[in-house]
Amino acid sequence: MISSDLHKEYPWARLHSLNYPVRLDALGEVLADIRASYHQTDHSDPKPRGTQLIGNSPDTELVRRLIEQVAPSLATVLITGESGTGKEVVARQIHERSGRKGPFVAVNCGAIPESLLESELFGHERGAFTGAVSARAGRFEQAKGGTFFLDEIGDMPTVMQVKLLRVLEERVIERVGSADSIPVDVRLVAATHRDLPKRIEAGKFREDLYYRLSVFPIEITPLRERTADIAPLVDEFICRLCAEESVTLQIARNAMKILEEYSWPGNVRELANLIERLVVVKPNGVVKARDLPWPIVERQEGTPDGTEVLSSRLTAVSGGVHVNLPSGGLDLKQYLAKIEQDMIHQALIESDGVVQRASELLGVGRTTLVEKIRRYELNTPKKPVH
């Protein structure tokens, strides 16, 4: 019996049997099994934290369809979208659904110094440069048979862009210090939050590389434009974090409404950070509107209760605990200076350290803000990356 023999030879094979001529009811049962297992495989595979695409908005559904379309092919994918929208999640989904057996290897081009990037990507031979005490395979080689994700491709130095272009065209790499070409079987996915056509106009990004990369472009919409995803994302983050912390957390309806109306400049990453903070601040509690940080509440128009806004501001400053005036009073000037300092710090985080944008967020002039940053000795922090 061929199918029993096949089970022995190929124990992984999921074999169904049908007699010929095929009866419709038997065929229907097999197709139902196939459909059930297909959907089960899609959703039940254990995946690392944060690799699922959450939400049911039309935009997210479209991204899902695009992933399904492109994943089985070898086409190079260019994912664009604001910071924190989940570009790496999309890249991982493409890899997981590609059927490629090699690993998913990610490199952030903006995080590696220019002088090290070539060696990081292509590897090096022993003695290629000072400190190269042994030969080392680069990330391209490590991704053999898998997917290579180049994040923040818009920040790649132009010298490296030329070398990357050659890899895409010839599918070979050369380690630093070697003239030998090594063939690479890698599927490339790139991502950027930058406007590449503008970078091309400014002479900072090669047009030929752009066209090579954007064989299959996927644009991820900012969270503020897909508000239908906010509630499912909140549920997912609460579910995940509460399980990790062994606590419970609920979001009151009015608080959820505020979350849905907020502009989320930091996108999904900002939402995840907020929920993480609320889990710490309100374990086993119900999050109400007044528990939300003031930048979120502040942007809601027509908040009827002024005290609630004030209370929320104080909540933000004190890290989630309501402020009660100490019996001995306080130094209001010093206290307000602390609030100002915290707000500037937060604005700089929100604006990725861009002072002009931070000044717009705070409604003060750029010069004024620069002076305050100097006075408070604040640096220009970047948003935390998760």
């Binding site: 030879e9 049997s17 010929y20 197709l31 089985p72």
Partner: protein, 83 residues
């Protein structure tokens, strides 16, 4: 995509029509040597192996399915009642 692999076109077409009749979209027919080329950019949901393939053909197709994705269900169509 559901792929029907058979040596003769007519039996494969009959199977394709039956599968499509059961509301399965995107069904494709092919031979034991050419089926992989016809997948293109599509994601394979299942492979139906027709009754006129030799044992050698069947083993080659099953082996290649495993190389492609071991999770793809394989449906064996047999002339007799063998399970």
């Amino acid at each position: 995509m559901i792929m029907v692999v058979n040596r003769t076109g007519s039996a494969a077409e009959n199977l394709k029509e039956l599968i499509e009749f059961m509301d399965a979209p995107h069904v494709c027919t092919s031979t034991p040597t050419k089926w992989q080329q016809q997948i293109g950019d599509s994601r394979l949901e299942a492979v139906f192996i027709g009754p006129d393939l030799t044992d050698k053909d069947i083993r080659a197709v099953v082996h290649d399915i495993g190389e492609l994705d071991p999770n793809i269900p394989i449906v064996m169509i047999t002339e007799d009642n063998d399970e």
